[in-house]
């Protein structure tokens, strides 16, 4: 082996070993969190803080619904479930024991008489206080009323009793609800956020699964539905593993069979496997060295480079002549290979400037993977004589090649060039059907869909909407929360929203407390009010309004305290408000349009917006790099040759996106990423044929055809996957490769004949 070869080999080995060390010692970690895909939010942005908080909460939240036709049984089993869950450890039960109305009593005591339900407040405000007087009178005589003299002196209208009951209904997370002759008792838990990912969570989920099974088995007619992000991740992980296993086995088998069929030998198979392994290992090692946290999407995309780098090995083995050494073969195809490698690397390198984590990782993975695999074919394979086959392909497809070239000869490539330019412009203008909805990327199985639909319908927590109310002071924010409560009141009565959960519900604004106190005083001084006053001891005039200051808030349960957001560095503040049981008929958009200080905190929407940004940035990078490479080719090879060669990958890339959109595969971030692969593959097909010596044109055509078949096999399998991301990428690459292969003989007709 030459000195260069030794240096190259040693360098590669060192890189891979160092990368492995980083991975195995945990210095570089794999992450699957969707939030990691996008740039870190600025700390000055209150919405980003809220989003981060809510995303963390949702990603660890599991919602259970225990159903039975009898309310007590549903409640009992939910209680048992709660107790058992507590024993598992690392699981926090929401509601239940943590929020009890008794906890509020001490806080509220001085302000009793100035606290009322929204309904009572509204009754007072609209001048219908008579009804409250009558209610109070009646409750004096009712056996179920818990009035006592001190309470009635402080609150003759019984406002606080009602208020406390409403709070109890809102915060009693365990209360069973009746739908269609069954009672549903909810249990909501969070798996500890401080734990490192995966294993421990997975173990807990397995314990939970067993627990649910045993509770259902032990209580006939009890059904426990449960869902949430951790449960979804667990299911998806199971599906992904099985899919990955199936696809890998099928893809590898298909390529091996194809290579054995083509070369009638195992040596090219081993050579191809070696090339692929080097590409994948070096790409992974480089990514591990450059990045502390590597996203699994980058890894998955990197591995899909198999489809690109296997072409280099196929090209090498197909180009082998019986009368030459393997080093001579490598030298002969070197220029074409290096050209192909250079073009692909340039394409992927453009992603490094996107400013998006995952794109930068893909850029590094792809660039290192492609370069190492390509150079291995040129410098390593020829020196591993035991892997060299003395003769290239054995199956002649000359006739097909001739027919293909003749057909391509009549292609109006100028017109195709024009189509390519127009398509690129349309892509720039975002004209084609695109869908960046992150929910479209979800893996759906009938079981998951059924559970999620069920929970969304019957669980308040699952159908909740989270809003951020901003303001300059706590008092202002509380008043704005109360405005919001007023705004949704009609929707609450029409059952479009089942409840409102916010700090103002527990500590109303000072303005509202004063209003309630004053309106009650006024009412009690009326003639009707005097009748009530006559029956009861004289009213206490001492009331101390409560402020939602830090000290008072600290007496509230943690879940309520978490609703308060503050960014001290920018003095921004806001409160999260949770609208529970929001039905699809609720017009949220109009509400959001009403006030600038109110916004929805919706991780799915935010991620969809991020996907949109990332897709647009990747599309710009794709178009930019293709324009750059076109200019480079034209400069190096002349207008006609350069244009013809670049036409193959660029037409395939842009037309694929347009065609997939026309055929209903909406464009998203992943289809744009797949089109980078199409560009790399298309460039290889054109350059291999262009750079082939005149007596090698047939072999180059065949190498390209075999490469196309292998790629179609691998990505065709992906297009049948249950995982939407793989499905999209598979479909796009298959369409692109077919187009690139069909058009590639254009490059074979290049007038220069041999590349110098």
């Amino acid at each position: 082996m030459s000195l260069y070869g030794k240096i190259w080999g040693t360098g590669l080995l060192a890189l891979v070993l160092y990368g492995c060390m980083l991975l195995f010692t945990g210095q570089t970690r794999f992450v699957s969190d969707i939030a990691f895909l996008f740039p870190e939010p600025s700390s000055a942005d209150l919405e980003a803080i809220a989003l981060n908080q809510i995303s963390n909460q949702l990603s660890s939240q599991i919602i259970f619904l225990v159903s039975h036709k009898d309310a007590d049984t549903a409640l009992n089993i939910a209680g048992k479930l709660r107790d058992e869950l507590r024993n598992i450890g690392g699981i926090r039960i929401l509601g239940g024991r943590e929020i009890g109305t008794s906890k509020f009593a001490a806080l509220h005591k001085p302000a009793i008489g100035a606290l009322a339900t929204y309904s009572d407040y509204k009754t007072l405000k609209t001048g219908h206080g008579d009804a409250l007087l009558k209610r109070s009178l009646a409750s004096l005589y009712m056996p179920a009323s818990s009035i006592n003299s001190s309470l009635i002196r402080q609150d003759p209208l019984g406002l606080y009793q009602e208020y406390l009951q409403e709070l109890s209904a809102t915060f009693d997370a365990n209360r069973p609800k009746k739908y269609n002759n069954s009672y549903y008792s909810p249990v909501t838990v969070r798996i500890s956020e401080s734990l490192p990912i995966n294993d421990k969570k997975k173990t807990r989920l397995q314990v939970i699964e067993k627990l649910v099974g045993s509770l259902e088995d032990g209580n006939k007619e009890v059904k426990i539905h449960y869902g949430g992000a951790p449960r979804y991740s667990q299911k998806i992980s199971q599906i992904s593993k099985s899919e990955a296993g199936k696809i890998s086995v099928l893809a590898v088998s298909a390529i091996v069979i194809l290579l054995i069929f083509l070369f009638r030998s195992f040596k090219p198979v081993l050579g191809a496997v070696l090339t692929i392994s080097i590409g994948v290992a070096v790409g992974a090692a480089a990514t591990a060295i450059f990045f502390e946290n590597v996203h699994l999407i980058a890894v998955a995309f990197g591995v899909s480079l198999v489809g690109v780098v296997v072409d280099y090995a196929i090209h090498f083995y197909t180009s082998r002549r019986a009368n030459e050494t393997s080093e001579q073969t490598a030298n002969r195809i070197k220029a074409g290979l290096l050209y192909g490698i250079g073009t692909s690397v340039l394409g992927f390198a453009a992603l490094a400037f996107s400013g998006v984590n995952v794109l930068q990782q893909i850029a590094v993975y792809s660039a290192f993977g492609i370069v190492s695999a390509g150079i291995s074919v040129v410098y390593l394979l020829p020196r591993l004589t035991f892997l060299s086959k003395t003769e290239g392909y054995s199956t002649s497809i000359d006739m097909l090649g001739r027919a293909h070239r003749s057909a391509v000869a009549v292609v109006p490539y100028l017109a195709l060039g024009l189509v390519t330019i127009v398509t690129a412009i349309l892509l720039l203008l975002d004209v084609f059907d695109a869908n960046d909805d992150v929910r479209k990327l979800r893996v759906d199985t009938p079981e998951l869909t059924k559970t999620e639909t069920f929970l969304a319908k019957y669980s308040n927590a699952a159908s909740a909407k989270i809003l951020l109310v901003k303001g300059t002071s706590t008092e202002q924010i509380l008043q704005r929360e109360e405005w919001l409560q007023d705004y949704i009141w009609t929707d609450v009565q029409n059952e479009k929203v089942s409840g409102f959960w916010g700090v103002s519900k527990l500590i109303p604004s000072i303005k509202k407390q004063s209003e309630i106190w004053e309106m009650s005083t006024e009412l009690l001084n009326t003639v009707e009010g005097a009748k009530l006053q006559k029956l009861i001891p004289s009213r206490s005039t001492n009331v101390e309004l409560i402020y939602a200051d830090e000290e008072n808030r600290s007496q509230l349960p943690k879940e309520i305290q978490d609703l308060v957001l503050e960014d001290k560095s920018t003095d921004q503040r806001g409160h999260l408000v949770i609208l529970q049981g929001v039905q699809p008929s609720f017009d949220l958009e109009t509400l959001l349009g009403e006030k600038s200080w109110i916004s929805e905190i919706n991780p799915a929407k935010k991620y969809s917006a991020n996907f949109f940004d990332t897709r647009v940035k990747s599309t710009y990078s794709l178009i930019g790099v293709i324009v750059f490479i076109s200019l480079l080719f034209i400069w190096k090879m002349g207008i006609e040759t350069g244009a013809k060669i670049i036409l193959v990958p660029s037409f395939a890339t842009f037309s694929t996106l347009a065609l997939s959109s026309l055929f209903g595969v909406e464009i998203n971030f992943f289809s744009v990423m797949a089109s980078f692969l199409v560009f790399a593959l298309g460039a290889d097909y054109a350059l291999f044929q262009y750079a082939a010596h005149s007596d090698d044109k047939e072999r180059a055509y065949q190498a390209v055809s075999y490469s196309a078949i292998s790629t179609i096999l691998v990505f065709g399998l992906l297009s049948f996957s249950m995982i939407p991301v793989l499905q999209t990428m598979g479909s796009v690459v298959v369409i692109g490769v077919v187009l690139a292969w069909l058009l590639s003989p254009i490059a074979n007709l290049a007038p220069e004949g041999e590349y110098k």
């Binding site: 309310a71 009804a131 009558k134 209610r135 009178l137 009646a138 409750s139 004096l140 005589y141 009712m142 056996p143 179920a144 009323s145 818990s146 009035i147 006592n148 003299s149 001190s150 009635i152 002196r153 009951q165 109890s168 209904a169 009693d172 209360r175 009746k178 029956l535 009861i536 001891p537």
Partner: protein, 207 residues
Amino acid sequence: MSYLKQFVVFALFVFYTVGVVDASQIGPNEVKPGSILTGEFSQERYLNGFEAPLVSSGDFFLFPSKGLAWRVFEPFESRLIMTSEGITQITHGSIMKVAGTTGLAKLIGGLMYPALSGDWQKLKNDFEVNVEQPAATDTEWTASLRPVNETIGKIIESIELTGGTTTRSLIIFKTNGDRDEIQFKSQEILGVPTKEAINAFSIDGNN
């Protein structure tokens, strides 16, 4: 007289004078599922700090399978419906859900049926029940209930019930010194619910 005879005579004497009977057998007549207990009541509520008791009267309907409807006629008309689904108070046409399934309202709602039908076993879930029968009668009884449940114990000190074939009075002593005294009369068990009884449970604006 042999010792054995002496023992038998003594035992019979004790049995007839002290009235050793199974406490679970003592109490008002059972109101069987499907039938309905109806009657009139008068209530005096003594609240600390109030000059006079709050007096009210009306009638009630108790369906074992459904719940209790409590109709107040004096000093003004109102109605309280206690079922497993919650408590509703209807006053002057306005319908209000009371304490749902928590607190004193739930406790009172849950207490009425066993108290009026003598289901001591059920009451034992939350109270220590002590039923006594004076030796001279075979139907009169008194029962005192002391909460064993900590939450109930915070609100209720004790409950006293007296009656014969029906429960005649119920006194609730609260921990803050307040008390409710309810007297029942004209009670009867109906095999078939009357239209009036059914109407008493209807949640509409009419008292």
